[in-house]
Symmetry: C2
Subunit: 570 residues, 2 copies
């Protein structure tokens, strides 16, 4: 680092001590103190991970081209940490993707780790913990990147708001993870609550609850209220970071026009229910054109699982009504949980805005078909792709690859596809075994890769889950969705090569397939995984390497574990 830059950073650091991000500057600097605190987000008191005392954490506001600098101080006492910047491609900074085991060693208690990266595209992004199952403990927040001065969006609005939807467990991440990694398998069950921007409401009169652990009069768990002015148009950025649940989001009495997803402009379409999967972001336009004498419900409902989790509710508060005033109506009930058709239809409706189409390459150089299955491996319940259940190596891939430490992970690549000719995706796997491996896919730099995600039956009869797959370091073109087993001869002909949306997270629907295309043009090692926290923990992911020889010198700060430790120099 040049001395002048160092001085500048030191100056920013000093200014940020008073905790006001620098506006109008090209560097947006944050100091975060991460620790455990007691909170009652749904009225039930438990430990949560906070950033500067808050969960969700502070929103990062930046402008396209800015450099975001976040100094993360780990005050978790005995537990390490890593933070992923979800949707930021980290071009030129693959070591700051924040994916423990892939791009960095974890941040130790007492350490301050500095993430520094450029936000090169406007849009709606996220950040969250990416270590163990810490995301579920409350470490997450929004990143909002605006256009450069003088540029404008292809749609108009008066105000801009962000909310993150989550589900919420009362058991700690340790308790959950220990169950998942045990024989017999211990499953935590459905989440206790759905939260809207960190607020929910658990029924404290449930058995076993006492006033000191569950108290519905606690102001912390009053419903989230979004105050709006009648007669205006709001850009509402809605994101999901659920641990498990696929959601339908609805605003009573108001339609939503979808205009952006994962940082890309959408050919506008109108929905009553927005289906949203963990890891996705959407911007919707909402016009406050209803009776201004009352408030309206915001609701989230679980879909795709026959969940016991009650709906999440918040309040669309028409100013000047009191924000705590409940709407006079019942909250709208959500869609039928097991009706896949409207969800598939919404997925297929998401096309690129006609003025912002990025044409995909007409053909691909490699096609990887990833069969998603649930498995039993040596008595452990796992998830796998192509019968390989993923496990992280002890030395992060980025270090192992860059320093040529090829013994740090399995060098035999996983299969590009299985022979599915006789595979019945509508039955549990005939042989539920799989291999647990840290092997990876190595992609030729700058080639075009197609990924077909093929869903199947889980180990339970007549059950196929929805898996939201998230790719680090890239956006991909969404070429198509379909039902049943992918047909290489015919389904490829139906690919949308005209106006495919680009995204970084996409669902594969029950018993269905999803086809993606991306350019392997970002040097680094990148995780591609199911964004359901427990599914990834149980092996549902793969890693892509591309252009490792083009990766610059790795910073010492990522080098605190395994063999990486020997490359840590002052």
């Amino acid at each position: 680092m040049a001395t002048t830059l160092k001085l500048f950073l030191a100056l920013c650091c000093f200014i940020s001590l008073i905790n006001i991000p620098i506006t109008e500057a090209r560097i947006r600097e944050y100091k975060w103190d991460v620790k455990y605190e007691y909170r009652s987000p749904d009225c039930y008191k438990k430990l949560v991970i906070t950033i500067n005392g808050r969960t969700p954490g502070p929103t990062i506001l930046a402008q396209q081209g800015d450099t975001v600098v976040v100094h993360v101080k780990n005050n978790l006492m005995t537990e390490n940490l890593a933070i992923h910047w979800h949707g930021i491609r980290q071009i030129g900074t693959p070591w700051f993707d924040g994916t423990e085991g892939v791009t960095q060693c974890p941040i130790l208690p007492g350490d301050t780790f500095t993430y520094q990266f450029v936000v090169d595209r406007p849009g709606t992004y996220l950040y969250h913990a990416h270590y163990g199952m810490q995301r579920e403990a409350g470490l997450y927040g929004s990143i909002r990147v605006s256009l450069p001065d003088g540029e404008s969006e292809p749609f108009g609005y008066d105000y801009d708001r962000s909310i993150i939807l989550t589900d919420w467990y009362h058991k700690s991440t340790y308790e959950q993870a220990t169950g998942l990694a045990s024989i017999p398998f211990g499953w935590v069950g459905e989440p206790q609550s759905l939260l809207i921007q960190g607020k929910g409401r658990f029924n404290c009169s449930s058995p076993g609850m006492t006033g000191d652990v569950c108290n519905t009069t606690n102001p912390e768990c009053s419903p989230y209220a979004m105050t709006v002015v009648p007669g205006m148009t709001y850009r509402l950025r809605v994101a999901s970071l659920t641990a498990l649940s696929a959601l339908s989001f609805q605003i009573e009495g108001h339609n939503m026009t979808v205009v952006e997803t994962d940082g890309h402009y959408v050919k506008p379409f109108v929905v009553q229910n927005l289906f949203i999967y963990s890891g996705e972001t959407y911007s919707v336009l909402v016009t406050t054109d209803q009776d201004p004498a009352r408030n309206y419900w915001l609701t989230t409902n679980v879909v795709s699982r026959n969940a016991t989790t009650p709906p999440g509710v918040g309040i669309l508060n028409y100013y000047p009504n009191h924000p705590r005033r409940y709407p006079p109506t019942n909250a709208p009930s959500g869609p039928i949980w097991n009706d896949v058709k409207p969800r598939l239809a919404q997925s297929q409706a998401i096309r690129a805005h006609q003025s912002f189409i990025i044409p995909p390459p007409a053909t691909s150089d490699r096609v990887i078909v990833l069969l998603n299955t649930q498995n039993n491996v040596s008595g452990y319940r796992r998830w796998s792709v192509n019968n390989v259940s993923f496990t992280l190596p002890h030395t992060p891939y980025l270090v192992g690859l860059k320093q040529n430490l090829l013994h740090t992970f399995n060098q035999v690549p996983p299969p590009d596809r299985l022979d599915l000719t006789n595979y019945d995706i509508r039955s549990p796997p005939p042989n539920p075994n799989a291999t647990i491996s840290d092997s990876i896919y190595r992609l030729k730099f700058n080639t075009t890769v197609d990924i077909i995600l093929q869903n199947a039956n889980s180990l339970v009869l007549n059950n196929s889950e929805t898996h939201p797959w998230h790719l680090h370091g890239h956006d991909f073109w969404v070429l198509g969705y379909g039902e049943g087993k992918f047909d290489m001869a015919n389904d490829t002909k139906k690919y949308n090569l005209v106006d495919p949306i680009m995204k970084n997270t996409v669902p594969v629907h029950p018993y269905g397939w999803t086809a993606l295309r991306f350019k392997a043009d970002n040097p680094g090692a990148w995780l591609f995984h199911c964004h359901i926290e427990s599914h990834f923990f149980m092996g549902m992911g793969v890693v892509f390497e591309e252009g490792i020889e083009k990766v610059g010198k790795l910073p010492s700060s990522i080098m605190g574990c395994g063999e990486a430790r020997h490359y840590n120099r002052p």
Copy 2:
């Protein structure tokens, strides 16, 4: 390491894979897998930390002069680890004391750390986690060092048994630690159970308990049964690793003859109740001379606190009675909790066995008087000595000192004593403020140091707690105990210089003082602290440095954090 030694270690490693410690060899090698598991030690199901699936962990059996090698694999997922070998002086290996922040960086998830040290004295020792409050989560066990072949103890017995006494909380260590470090202060309260060798019994009909979390029919929480043959003499090694509680231990109908403590032979004396404080070990002789037609109670009771914790019970099982058969009597009730006199008397009764007196130096070179107080610092509840509340630095002292990184901790030493002329130890501190600091005492090598522990009133009126102080790296002579404020002119004259016992852990009684002497002859950095887990967490400790220039080359394996990281070389 020489190649031959490496080969030898590799061979041992291979043999230890079949998990049988090598008998008769000079190296005792263990492979430990440390992880979270669900257990119900007192019938209440919660996460515990196990070693090879067990809590308490496996007992280390060795002979004087042996080298113990323990390969610790951290499988805690997101949490680090360190293990202390309590009572082992680590002469020549100060880096393997296992004290996170003092002698090493923590062991990361996925890492295997190898401890290697010589057990140079016969006796009864312990091991336990020494990071955050992990000890309370169940990571502990016994070390038993026997005499060389052909040598014998100064007392006879037929069988040798070990038990560890603990108390047990239902809240996780995270929940407890977060409360302790919060404003307002959150105190977990008294433990739910007392455990004997990892087994206790909680009343599952308490409010809020359901059958899936609390089940008294679970065999895991059947009372601990020690099976004995009538008419024999047992050496029973009793240790305490309570988080909080001072205990009285009793065997219904049987006297106990105290013969060893902390690895030193005691001038035998007989007790009905053995008072034992966290960090202490005792050997007592018990003769099974009672009616053999029945079983007898083993009991532990909390003393020194007006605790709600029910007594702990186990069964002394006279063979061939059934080990689950309850004695026909009520378990003996313990002594009155707030009667200090018998506890003080027992402390004073512990003298060195006349054939094993190690004469203390007649005078000391330095006298450090440590006033124990409870404090409020910037709204945080803390414990302090001499108004300094201890906090660990980010770079372990041993590394900071050895590598001369003097900026890594406060170089201004804490005071050797305060002027206590006008200090009323029977009232709460007039100024409850204190300084939080990582400053240390630097001792001149090979000098003799006296420590006077001076107890006082806590922040609560008419309350003074019992603090068991444990010194790492040394044994000390116990020169005396007294009531009230220590009188330098007169109390020093009453010091026992004739047959003082040597110990590594010693209580300071309510409103009393305890005087110790030790030789600063073990090069390294050594913690001296209250062994109550929450008290040390809240600042009740000091560090002594001596002979740092004589410390050999530090192993890379301890160098994973702070500035130590830069000294990690392959």
